[in-house]
């Protein structure tokens, strides 16, 4: 007996997942099209709108986890979404000089393929109650390649933006001030790079564990 709330929840999540899926599909399509037609320097400009929208929508997922709408633990989604938002808004949107770098293309394509598979997977489950096994396989296997390519792109872009971050003083707060606080964006970026060192193997191992669980579970069914 599906209660009204369950139906509402499934409806909302279906709409959410398929909408964001369309966003990421646009990103991939425009990225590949621009790459073919003009070159990697123009990829960012072509994908900017759907990218900013689709990536920012992910913030809702933290909310979903907090209010119990979905089962994913907030602890694993937070670092993932954090790094995505940092790259999207904190690096690409804030420092235009980096937008023409070739790593933007690899970043955007890695993210887009991963998200297309992920959102359609959840979209299928919420709307139709199931997802085919090849879909499950894709969801838990493509990360094997896309995590390294994505993480390399993220780290590379942060690294190559460092001179622009230092020169622009953007988001920096200097002393003296009433709250005796300071923030140096340049050193914060370096610290962030440092976090990737233990963070990346941790995330990769976590996904390997998830893969083992998900794929063995489906074999048993």
């Amino acid at each position: 007996m599906a209660s009204a709330l369950t139906v509402l929840r499934r409806l909302y999540l279906s709409i959410y997942n398929w909408t964001v899926f369309i966003g990421w599909f646009q990103v991939l399509f425009l990225a590949l099209k621009t790459l073919k037609e003009s070159g990697h320097e123009n990829v960012y400009n072509a994908v900017e709108k759907p990218l900013l929208l689709a990536q920012s929508a992910a913030v809702l997922e933290i909310l979903h986890g907090l209010i119990g709408l979905v089962r994913s633990p907030v602890s694993s989604t937070l670092p993932q979404i954090g790094s995505r938002l940092y790259l999207t808004w904190g690096i690409l949107w804030s420092f235009p000089e980096i937008r023409t770098h070739v790593l933007v293309t690899s970043l955007v394509i890695s993210w887009a393929i991963t998200e297309i598979i992920r959102y359609s997977f959840f979209g299928m489950k919420e709307a139709f109650g199931f997802a085919p096994s090849w879909h499950l396989w894709l969801r838990y296997s493509t990360f094997l390649v896309l995590y390294p390519t994505g993480i390399t792109s993220e780290v590379g872009l942060i690294y190559f933006s460092l001179p622009y971050i230092k020169a622009s003083e953007k988001y920096c707060i200097r002393m003296p001030n009433k709250w005796n606080f300071s923030f140096d964006n340049f050193y914060a970026a370096i610290l962030t790079l440092g976090i990737y060192v233990p963070g990346s193997p941790h995330m990769y191992r976590y996904m390997l564990g998830q893969r083992k669980r998900a794929l063995s579970k489906s074999k048993k069914e």
Partner: protein, 312 residues
């Protein structure tokens, strides 16, 4: 009597088991295990009774003072005990000493030495301080000195030891925050608050530190000098109103420090410390309520705030 020692996976941990006196205590068993295995000294051993597989009950931990016979079912002259290695242990005193030593030593470095030139502030070779920065130094150092003294002369710990890994984790927490706050309060471009605010902050903080000390004395008196006595209902002073009055006074004391020094770093530390202590307080409050349920002659735990009236 014969004691069979198994690991949590069911594998026999000591081949052939151990032979002990019928009147042996758990402590004797721990000694025997230590003698046999060399590596696993008693504080590293966690000994429990086996739990039927599939059962979700928490295993019964063997109390070192009780005799083994107390854990034997009926008239049996043998016992099966599950062994778990807790990893290398350090005494709580060692742990606390090192985690408090960092802030005590590192903070004055930022006050007395021209460290800010390494952060790009050339020319500030002879540190000149606002009065509030000097009082903050005294307050901070008094606080951590008090903590170290309490560690050695006041606190009575229910567990003698803590895992070694906690040394690194706890020192990272205290030392990093110590450095973070010391950097800002002693900064050459530090902006002090008004005189009245400073006095209110430090005054209030000091009163709370004294109250906190008194809370620690009350808690100490709940137990014997060897840490025996287990869990008791704390009574008297602020404990009549709030279960973890010691944490409450600690939180308010940091609030006092922050009101006087006004740094974002200090307030961040306050928020983090408060959430950690709130977690502990909830656990302790729940444990005391569960233990003192009013049945079988046990007193019933009175209605009290957990840690921060009127919120929790």
């Amino acid at each position: 009597m014969k004691v069979n020692l198994v690991s949590r996976s069911g594998r026999e941990f000591i081949k052939g088991g151990l032979e002990l006196n019928d009147s042996a205590t758990v402590a004797d068993l721990q000694e025997a295990i230590h003698k046999r295995t060399k590596k696993f000294y008693p504080s590293r051993q966690r000994l429990t009774l086996p739990v039927p597989s599939g059962s979700r009950e928490r295993p019964v931990v063997l109390n070192y003072k009780k005799s083994l016979k107390d854990y034997c079912e009926g008239n049996e002259n043998s016992l099966t005990v599950v062994f778990k290695d807790l990893g290398p242990q350090v005494s709580y005193r060692t742990l606390f000493f090192f985690e408090y030593l960092g802030p005590l030593i590192l903070y004055p470095v930022f006050y007395y030495f021209p460290v800010y030139k390494f952060f790009g502030y050339e020319g500030f070779t002879h540190p000149v301080h606002h009065p509030v920065q000097t009082y903050a130094l005294y307050y901070w150092c008094f606080h951590y000195f008090k903590r170290i003294l309490e560690t050695f002369f006041v606190h009575r710990f229910s567990h003698a030891t803590s895992p070694l890994s906690n040394v690194f984790r706890n020192c990272a927490y205290y030392w990093t925050f110590g450095l973070y706050i010391a950097y800002y309060v002693n900064h050459p471009l530090y902006t002090p608050v008004g005189d009245l605010q400073m006095k209110i902050g430090f005054g209030f903080g000091l009163v709370c530190q004294l109250a906190n000390f008194y809370c620690h004395i009350i808690l100490k008196n709940l137990r014997g000098p060897d840490g025996s006595g287990g869990y008791q209902i704390p009574r008297g002073f602020l404990f009549n109103i709030v279960t973890c009055a010691n944490y409450t006074t600690e939180i308010y004391q940091w609030l006092g420090f922050n009101i006087a020094t006004q740094t974002v770093a200090g307030y961040v530390f306050l928020v983090v410390a408060t959430s950690i202590m709130t977690n502990w307080a909830l656990t302790k409050h729940r444990r005391l309520k569960k233990l003192f349920d009013g049945k079988d002659g046990r007193p019933k735990y009175p209605r009290r705030w957990v840690i921060l009236p009127p919120f929790l």
